[in-house]
């Protein structure tokens, strides 16, 4: 008897709960933030959106962008769109927008004065196609970081390097101490991204833009880029013995001192934070590999598919505003290890590495990254080349450069 009563009360409670939720609109948001630091960051977004009275339905897709994007795109093109979805802003969603599948956010943007608050300006340009704004940038990620384990260098008995060249010189000592000098995970985008970072650091900003923006195949096959391939060859030798796939597993090797360092975007910082490591004490970060002081402004953005349901469309507007809210921006980016897209937020609690990044942003030496400059097709060809290059020691530097020049000549 008592049990029945309890059940009845429970049932009533549940029923009440449901009626309460009926006012809120469920909005499914897909993204590929699944590592420890990323999941903590996305929880902040969900919290902020739930606080507006709507409901964030989390659609995390594991396996990083390469796995997630095809799933997202086929859902949108296949007529089963989600409420909102993450992409790297740039050209990944270009054709979806051109096909009229994405929602035009220009009105919301004008209302929220996005053009004034979003900084640097180039960020919103990547969201703009034919004068209309189609996405909400949420963070600035830059690839150009070298993460070094202070513990590993102490064990090897060498000073923590300050530039890429010093790092290469320290590699034999690390190897002797049984440490993998450079961790490069097996996923293709990691090798390709590491090369791009080297290109910017060793070749310089002009060379980087000449290759990826002007798509000058002849230059890509020339002597200046040969230097970059020489550096990539060093990186390839240093990365031998990594034996992991995912980027966060590679970062974990640096965190635990099994590897000396890793070339990875600033999203790696979230992992260091989750592990309780302190910047400057446990690990060192070198923006631009200590050789270049330009940062690229890639990053993540949310796109909103065009929906028929009016209530969901309204919830989309609320989400778009929430994402750019100063409070959300700070909470999210501190956890994520990325930089906020607004210049007017207070980031006193930012750590050493983030401050280095903010300084560079303030100076304005920012360049567009490959996500903005190259089509996905070209990116994939590049990934195929560099994942092969890093895994196959008998692929010569000359052959690789020749193939690289071919890809750049036919790039779009």
């Amino acid at each position: 008897m008592r049990r029945t009563l309890k059940a009845a009360v429970l049932a009533a409670g549940t029923a009440l709960g449901f009626t309460g939720a009926a006012y809120a609109t469920d909005l499914e948001v897909t993204h590929w933030w699944t590592s420890g630091g990323e999941a903590a960051a996305v929880a902040e977004l969900a919290k902020a959106f739930d606080a507006t009275g709507n409901k964030w339905v989390d659609g995390a897709i594991a396996g990083s962008g390469g796995t997630a994007r095809p799933i997202m795109i086929s859902r949108i093109t296949g007529g089963d769109p989600m409420g909102a979805t993450q992409f790297n802003h740039g050209r990944q969603a270009e054709e979806l927008v051109q096909a009229g599948l994405m929602r035009d956010l220009t009105d919301i943007a004008t209302k929220g004065k996005w053009t004034e608050v979003v900084r640097p300006k180039g960020l919103l340009d990547s969201c703009t196609i034919d004068g209309k704004i189609y996405c909400v940038p949420v963070n600035i990620h830059s690839w150009q970081w070298l993460w070094l384990s202070n513990e590993a260098f102490a064990k090897a008995g060498v000073a923590v390097p300050k530039t890429w060249d010093e790092y290469v010189a320290a590699a034999p000592a690390l190897e002797k101490a049984g440490i993998v000098p450079l961790a490069v995970g097996g996923q293709p985008w990691q090798a390709s991204g590491a090369f791009d970072v080297l290109l910017l650091a060793v070749g310089g900003t002009d060379a980087f833009l000449k290759v990826y923006k002007d798509k000058d195949g002849e230059f890509a096959g020339g002597a200046e880029i040969a230097k970059v391939f020489k550096a990539a060859d060093d990186a390839r030798k240093m990365s031998k013995g990594t034996n992991v796939q995912d980027w966060n597993q590679a970062t974990n090797m640096v965190i635990t001192g099994k590897a000396g360092g890793q070339i990875m975007g600033d999203w790696a910082q979230g992992e260091f934070q989750v592990a309780g490591k302190v910047a400057g004490k446990d690990y060192t970060c070198l923006p631009g590999l200590g050789m270049s002081n330009a940062l690229a402004t890639g990053g993540d953005a949310f796109y909103f598919p065009l929906l028929k349901d009016a209530e969901k469309a309204k919830a989309q507007e609320v989400l778009a505003e929430t994402l750019l809210d100063p409070k959300t921006q700070v909470a999210f980016n501190l956890k994520k290890g990325s930089l906020p897209v607004r210049g007017d937020v207070d980031l006193n609690s930012a750590n050493d590495c983030m401050k280095k990044g903010l300084d560079i942003l303030a100076k304005g030496t920012v360049i567009p990254w490959t996500d903005q400059l190259l089509s996905q097709d070209t990116q994939k060809q590049k990934e195929d080349l560099f994942s092969e290059f890093f895994a196959k020691p008998d692929l010569t530097v000359e052959d690789a450069q020749k193939r690289f020049a071919d890809i750049i000549s036919s790039a779009d």
Binding site: N243, S375, Q376, D377, S387, E388
Partner: protein
Amino acid sequence: MASTMSSAAKRPSRLFRNLSAKIASVPMILTALVVFVGGTLWTVLYSFTNSRLLPRLKFVGLDQYERLWATPRWLVSIENLAIYGILSLIFSLVIGFVLAALLDQKIRFEDTFRTIFLYPFALSFVVTGVVWQWLLNPDFGVQAVVRSLGWESFAFDPLYNSSIVIYGVLIAALWQGTGFVMCLMLAGLRGIDEDIWKAARVDGIPAWRTYLFIVLPMMRPVLVTTLVIIAAGIVKVYDLVVAQTSGGPGIASEVPAKYVYDYMFFAQNLGQGFAASTMMLLSVAIIIVPWAYLEFGRRR
């Protein structure tokens, strides 16, 4: 005139014979025509266009095919498929048949052994791939175990060695698929009349020769079925590679099906993916058509 009409009324035309059976099969015929044939033709047609994320009819001739055959990754994929295909065909047939013949010796606990051998087949390729990824991982798997037993220099890390990685995939595939081949073969062996064996024994033919020259030729229908099942599995191999190596290290264990998927969806280049899948279809057709001609053409 009148007589023809009456005869037509008496004998309904062939079209209407077994009418209910024909009506029942209409949905399947439509599916086959629209989905399989239609989809195939559509794919071939669009492989001559420069479609990117979305299909569009802008013809570029043979450009996609020229690019395809100049791509190192595609060539590696084809080579891998050839190695994997030929070896897995040979090994799964040979091992499957030997296991079946051994089980056929009226041994004790036959059911137990059969279950053990067939069990891997109950696992999907994804699970198989993950299991063997761990087993072949040099830091945790076979190599680590042997080294911990004292053989320090022992090296067995096929998944991290570009030149032999495809054999690592092959091992996993054989572990998964051989039990099934064994079962098919065993069914075939059980279908052989006991009298044949008696006759062979009376003639004093040794058992291995009976198997090779008498039983095996009699099992032809079973062999053909097995062959078709294995071959279909080979051409479409994808999930095993994705789970076990994701094509790595580098591009050393890529397969054609993965190229198609990656270029269609990841690189957002449908035209290139369609061209690759058309080539896959063509290679299957090159093998199937002459065989079908010999197999079915002869009977007429």
